[in-house]
């Protein structure tokens, strides 16, 4: 067991991504969760971050101009012709 990690709100907000990514060392994760359990502000912050990620996932890829697409399909057609003539 490593020594407990001192956790405070200002420090916690910088660890949120590592926490959500499962990248925190065990001792740090434990102390973060202990802090969360007793801190209204930090649990609200983490919840906001979860909502932010979920909402970002509702965005769709920006429409890109259709020009250029046909050229790419031509790339395929040329390749196909080349390989089938072997």
């Amino acid at each position: 067991m490593s020594a407990p990690v001192d956790m405070n709100c200002k420090g916690l907000v910088e660890l949120v991504t590592d926490y959500l990514e499962g990248a925190l060392p065990e001792a740090e994760r434990a102390s973060l969760e202990q802090h969360l359990a007793g801190c209204e502000g930090c649990s609200a912050y983490l919840e906001q971050m979860r909502v932010t990620i979920a909402l970002t996932g509702r965005l769709t890829e920006d429409a890109i101009p259709a020009d250029g697409r046909e050229e790419l399909l031509d790339v395929f057609r040329a390749w196909k012709e080349q390989t089938s003539s072997w």
């Binding site: 991504t17 590592d18 990514e21 919840e47 909502v51 057609r77």
Partner: protein, 220 residues
Amino acid sequence: MSDRPPIRASDEDLRVVEALRAGDEPSFAMLVDRYRAPMLRVAQMYVSTRAVAEEVVQDTWVGVLRGLDAFEGRSSLRTWIFRILANTAKTRGQREARSTPFSSVWAAGDDEPAVDPDRFFPDDDPSAPRGWRSLPARWDAIPEERLLGKETLDRIREAIDALPANQREVIRLRDVLGWGSAEVCNALEISETNQRVLLHRARAKVRRALEAYLGEEGPS
């Protein structure tokens, strides 16, 4: 943790590759429609103009088709395509004799706090050192039609558009397109740590934009 197994090609990836080898154009068109936009943006990080980026994307597809027979499924199809893209873009960027080295393309840069430091009590505060001075609001009371409304999503899109290019592309691949962390690291050839820092900063700014918007008086 950091040593995640690499993402191998899915059954769908293998089916698509088979179809391409057999000359199936709709399968190719599907890939083009799916990846043309993110490929164009990633290419633009390495070269100077949109026109050159378009050429890089075109050369990448040539490379993908030529390499089809060598695809063994040891990575996902999209990771493989994006690695070809990055290599093509770098080669092209080198020819342009750009002044910034490629290693700086994905560099995180200077520290930036996720939250305005004024939101916390000072380090030497007697009662709550580094604690919240003003608590973040709970968003669960916000009506769903506001939270999921078009305007909310527009704010997120604006916040992402305003990010530095490397943070923007990482959050797009991870949170908009839903790629896994290992896939993004492989595709962009960046370390897990590097990726997490970029993602962290990007998400923090999107959260701040949302907080500013959702904190405003909503339409009643």
